[in-house]
């Protein structure tokens, strides 16, 4: 009988492990330092935060209390800004999904004439640097009379999110066998029935990924929000965070606390749907 052998790691294995650690530890510090610094500020009273300590003498949740009760000049409109961010992100997610699914279905399954053209134009839009498009977009929204209206940000973000959404969904649709549609037509299904009963259920994983993608893109957007919205009760959370910088004596511990609260939902969504995000998005992001 052969016993399972537990042998000590050889010198060679130990040196490999040591070399891996030599990479892993700096990577860990590099990744976590800015995030740790933010959390540290969130639980530090002002004196500790400004003393450059690695751990506060008196960790406290008081900063969260101030933010949640809007007890500071910079935080007067925290909840309404949180609400603005949520409404805008959800609207962008839903609208992008509707538009991109319809477009991908039309191009990939219905083979609509000119579909390839639309796909190429959308892809071209995907490669316009966002900050470049922001300049004429600002004036365009002014011409449409939408400045300082949430619709301006929603529509701008839908414009930015759609091309990639369409592309990913088209790639996914192309993989579904044509026989499915043909069989459904034989059974007398109409196009809306095929869309609802055959196409949507099969596309679910990609739809989840794209919905999250558009939602996170809108929640995280700073530049467009900062250009298109300006009233304190209209702006989204990232713009409110940027506005903290306007004063020299900003309450950085409150800024970091608000930033921490703002960063939690997207991180939670990302990790909850990581399986879809990694499979659906990165695989399609760059085709070799």
């Amino acid at each position: 009988m052969k016993l399972p052998s537990f042998k000590l790691p050889s010198l060679r294995e130990a040196s490999t492990e040591a070399r891996l650690l030599l990479i892993g530890i700096p990577v860990f510090i590099w990744t976590m330092l800015p995030i740790y610094h933010m959390m540290l500020f969130a639980i530090s009273p002002k004196e500790d935060a400004f003393a450059g300590k690695f751990w506060p003498d008196h960790p406290t949740l008081h900063n969260f209390h101030i933010v949640f009760h809007q007890q500071h000049y910079f935080l007067r409109d925290f909840w309404i800004q949180f609400w603005n961010s949520t409404v805008i992100a959800v609207s962008v997610g839903v609208l992008t999904l509707l538009i991109a699914t319809a477009t991908a279905f039309a191009i990939s399954r219905l083979k609509v004439p000119g579909g390839r053209w639309v796909m190429n134009l959308a892809l071209f839009t995907y490669f316009i640097p966002a900050a470049f498009l922001a300049v004429p977009m600002y004036r365009t929204m002014g011409n449409y009379g939408l400045l300082n209206n949430h619709w301006s940000l929603i529509l701008a973000m839908v414009t930015i999110a759609s091309p990639y959404a369409i592309w990913v969904l088209k790639q996914a649709s192309d993989k579904l066998p044509v026989e499915l549609d043909e069989a459904a037509i034989m059974d007398g299904a109409t196009i809306p029935q095929i869309f609802r009963l055959v196409y949507l259920p099969l596309m679910m994983p990609s739809l989840v990924a794209i919905g999250c993608y558009a939602l996170l893109l809108a929640w995280n957007e700073y530049l467009y929000a900062f250009l298109l919205l300006s009233r304190d009760t209209d702006i989204t959370l990232p713009v409110a965070l940027g506005n903290f910088l306007a004063a020299d004596d900003s309450p950085w511990e409150l800024l970091m606390t608000t930033g921490f609260i703002y960063a939690l939902p997207p991180a939670a969504i990302y990790y909850a749907f990581r399986r879809y995000m990694v499979g659906g998005l990165t695989a399609g992001a760059v085709k070799s």
């Binding site: 995030i35 004439p113 498009l133 004429p136 085709k287």
Partner: protein, 291 residues
Amino acid sequence: MAITLSTSDQAIPGAPLAGRLSTPQVWGIVLLAPYALVFLAFVIYPVGYGLWLARHPSSYVALYNDPIFARAAINTLVFLVIGINFKMLVALFLSGFFIQERSWIRWLSVLFILPWAVPSIPTILSVRFMFNPEWGMVNHLIFKFTGEDGPNWLNDPTVALTMAIMMHIWKSLPFWTLILMTGRLAIPGDLFEAADVDGATWWQKFRYITWPSVRTLYLTCTLLSMIWTLGDFNSVYLLTGGGPADLTHVLSTLGIRYLRLDQLSLAMASIVCALPFVLPLMYFMMKRLSR
């Protein structure tokens, strides 16, 4: 004369085009319409309008005479050529590290993705305060160990630009590492086993197996990252604000600066100046992805 209808030509009652188009095509056009509208209203119109605003030669003369523009153009080049290539090399290296099968490396990879998963604004501001000359953690540490005051980090244009590049790398490194990991994982494992049997060194395995397999992916990623980085406004604006003395602007922050100064034609002209370099890249990438 008999009129024959193909099976797919069951016309929808009341649809005007039904005579000439088949039902799926009518539906296709209906479903394509929302995106077409968005595209016309928020891509074609702004782009056309922007180009029209940038038509005056005087704007370009004004740009040429603005030292901030020249500086921003150089900064953008440094950002793209040095910053992005450095980032992609590190990503290529780390993708090799993260495909090692260790449970602690798997845990580390979950944390490693955090910069990509969280919004950039709070973390950029966090770094900004970390390097605050008076109250920041970094200068506190320097004072503790050397007894001397640390430098005023963001007040030196070279250091400030380097830090903006580092900030960009911090944010986007996980994404590109992940992409390159999928590229590496697609290489059949028996190639490496055969190389091990033949006694190949680490470098030989990389040179003759890994690199030929991921080369195309790596170059595509580099180009794509360059295009997107042109639009990276946050890393520079929120860390340095373009300062000190407007010396760390890149084209994206400069365009917005002109916009805020109500010099829209200058803003568009500065973007038009970048187009000869960007358009070929965009066209190339579009061709690549639409295959």
